[in-house]
């Protein structure tokens, strides 16, 4: 199933460094799957993956090619809050510079302007994304199908009570065909800004949406090496998993 495997070092097209943000506190509902998919697919495309973790208090890694961050519980969000604010500068610079990033659920919210809880408390975000989130009464749970102009049909599973509204500085990832997405009113899911893909979808997102994984890898390779020479990953299971997932009830 993995004919390409990792290229021998001398044949590698080069190393791409992936940083997982706060895996200790912000990794829920299989968000680790996104990091694993990046690691494997980078190798399947003939590059050498380097997967680093960044947790609260760590020195921030240099030479970052891709950033991936997941969701967490309320307790996890509280733990990382101060550290994230202290890293707002470097993360904003990387984002504005065009570093590809995947931000899921909790970190999608915290890369926005703020999260206002139902009791009125305001948790500041780092404002990389022009979005704001308000705590809702209802938990939005279930399978989601999104029509994305860039990535085609995006499949995943949402589980959140935050209602996110997009400002004019970002565009949605896509329109929801099943499920709720960002909020109960607008009918769209996720956000796109520069090379950032932000979304509420777990599932994990990347395994069943290799188009998004390859967008992140291609962008990273082009930025680092000037061009991207794709490999030939076997996506036959991904195609079938997508077909079956798309038919499942909400």
């Amino acid at each position: 199933m993995n004919p390409a495997g990792a290229a021998a070092p001398d044949q590698s097209k080069g190393t791409l460094r992936v940083v997982q943000l706060y895996p200790r506190d912000m990794n829920i509902y299989g968000d680790w799957g996104n990091a694993l998919v990046l690691k494997r697919r980078i190798a399947w495309h003939g590059y050498t993956p380097e997967l680093l973790e960044y947790n609260v208090g760590d020195p921030f890694p240099e030479g970052v090619d891709i950033i991936v961050g997941g969701g967490g519980q309320d307790s996890g969000q509280l733990v990382i809050q101060d550290d994230l604010q202290a890293r707002a500068g470097v993360l904003t610079d990387l984002a504005e510079d065009g570093t590809p990033m995947l931000l899921i659920c909790g970190l999608y919210q915290l890369f926005g302007r703020f999260f206002k809880t139902r009791t009125g408390a305001v948790i500041p975000g780092i404002g990389v994304l022009d979005v704001e989130t308000h705590g809702g009464d209802e938990r939005l749970i279930g399978n989601v199908k999104v029509a994305s102009p860039e990535f085609g049909e995006v499949l995943g599973y949402e589980n959140h009570s935050g209602q996110t509204t997009l400002g004019s500085g970002v565009r949605p990832l896509g329109t929801t065909a099943k499920g709720t997405g960002n909020n109960s009113n607008d009918g769209h899911e996720g956000a796109r800004y520069r090379n950032i893909v932000a979304s509420y979808l777990h599932g994990s997102l990347l395994p069943k949406n290799p188009a998004i994984a390859d967008f992140l890898i291609r962008t990273a390779a082009e930025r680092r090496f000037g061009s991207f020479i794709p490999g030939n990953p076997d996506d036959s299971f991904a195609v079938l998993a997508r077909e079956h997932a798309a038919r499942r009830p909400r």
């Binding site: 968000d31 973790e53 760590d58 519980q73 309320d74 777990h202 599932g203 395994p207 998993a241 997932a245």
Partner: protein
């Protein structure tokens, strides 16, 4: 009302039985016309009510506690039906009480689903509770793991006598800090076994990343699981160590046996005088897993293990407890409501241990999600057939002469048992 509700409920129970109906309706009838029925009936028991709760292993643990108490000569009322909790208990009570509403039992041991916990303990405060674990499982239903911990905390707070806690699960052990009047006891693991029980929090802590702040010293546990052998286990309590044969397989089941032992000792009274050790250990060695929690069957002269997997911790423990070598392996993943619709959890399990032998067959409504997961862990897949009946037939045909193992989600297990019963005699453990 009191005088009529029990006979009426019993009548409804008989009628609904005749109609092949479920167990909840008669309970509902009694609940509606006589809401105090359950509390009144349970409050007459000399040893009171003990509840068992937690994400994983409630059913088997409850069954163990019942068998341990029965070995000590106690008459135990328990809820064996899986229907809506409060009504299910009311319905089970109706089956057991006499026509005046008197329950002939010494103690009630009830499996309490977290979802129904608050309602139940508010109306019937238990004398004992046993809290097993808080794992990422039913997040679909509760949203957050910390919320589940709060529900367990509420059970403990409402308990009037003894609270038995899992010392090794930080979210459960921490409940002790919030209690004031209750006696707190723990069940625990030997340090050498801790590695087999990663909790959800350190699941992804990478080697080399600095450890979280040092944990406070562990409290003394009433019962400690020291060692697990092929078909035996070593427990420590009352300052001594005992080795006993075990019918239960899998480390996590045997850890739950330590939990059951701790609760049974609380109810009977610990110490040599209060309990008959011989009969207690004898009962422990005879406990078999509850229906649907995993079991060993025989198909065409070869063993076939069914291992229930329903959350990342359970799947990881299953893979660890049942090594793949020498076995043909099948995995059956459904995403029906009872299984949980979200497939994310498969990405929180590492499947490296299946890499050497590969997996013969994948089945279930999310068989291709499983195939994709295994591809990313470099595990070879023989075939994928989402339809369970033909998949099972092919698996049995193609792994002839080899012991077999099937990891399956809840509804997949039910389907597999149904199919197997056409081929072999499936033992029903009630």
């Amino acid at each position: 009302m009191v005088f009529f509700s029990v006979p009426l409920g019993k009548l409804v129970r008989r009628v609904s039985r005749l109609r092949g109906g479920g167990s909840a309706l008669p309970g509902l009838v009694v609940e509606k016309i006589d809401p105090g029925f359950m509390r009144r009936t349970l409050s007459t028991l000399p040893h009171g009510v003990a509840v068992v709760s937690g994400t994983n292993g409630k059913t088997t643990t409850t069954k163990m506690v019942v068998e341990l108490l029965e070995s000590q000569g106690l008459k135990v009322f328990t809820n064996r039906t899986g229907s809506n909790f409060t009504r299910g208990v009311a319905a089970a009570l109706l089956g057991e009480v006499d026509w005046r509403g008197k329950l002939d039992a010494d103690v009630a041991v009830l499996e309490l689903d977290e979802a129904h916990a608050v309602h139940f303990v508010n109306s019937v405060p238990p004398r004992y509770c046993l809290l097993l674990n808080v794992l990422r499982d039913q997040l679909d239903r509760f949203g957050e793991i910390d919320k589940t911990a709060q529900l367990l905390q509420h059970i403990a707070a409402k308990t009037t006598g003894t609270v038995v806690l899992n010392r090794e699960d930080p979210r459960v052990a921490r409940i002790a800090d919030t209690l004031t009047g209750q006696e707190v006891k723990y069940f625990g693991l030997d340090d050498s076994l801790l590695g087999t029980f990663p909790n959800d929090d350190d699941m992804r802590a990478a080697p080399g990343s600095p450890a979280p702040a040092a944990l406070p010293a562990k409290p003394q546990a009433d019962v400690v699981l020291r060692k697990v052998g092929a078909d035996s286990a070593e427990f420590e309590y009352d300052g001594g160590t005992v080795t006993t044969a075990m019918k239960l397989r899998g480390v996590y089941n045997i850890f739950n046996a330590a939990a059951a032992l701790a609760l049974a000792r609380s109810i009977c009274g610990a110490g040599a005088a209060a309990t008959d050790h011989e009969t207690l250990l004898q009962a422990l060695s005879q406990v078999a897993p509850a229906f649907g929690r995993g079991e060993s069957l025989t198909v065409e002269g070869q063993p076939l293990d069914l291992v229930l997997v329903k959350n990342p911790s359970g799947f990881r423990l299953g893979l660890k407890s049942f090594p793949a070598a020498g076995y043909a392996t099948m995995i059956a993943i459904n995403d029906n409501y009872a299984d949980g619709r979200d497939m994310s959890w498969l990405w929180d399990v590492e499947f490296d241990s299946l890499r050497d032998g590969g997996v013969e067959l994948l089945t279930g409504s999310r068989a291709y999600d499983m195939a994709l997961r295994l591809q990313y862990d470099d595990v070879q897949v023989g075939a994928v057939e989402p339809d369970i009946a033909p998949a099972l037939a092919a698996f049995i045909r193609e792994s002839q002469g080899k012991p077999k193992r099937i990891f399956c989600t809840y509804t997949a297990m039910l389907a597999i048992r149904r199919e197997l019963s056409k081929i072999t005699t499936v033992e029903v453990v009630s």
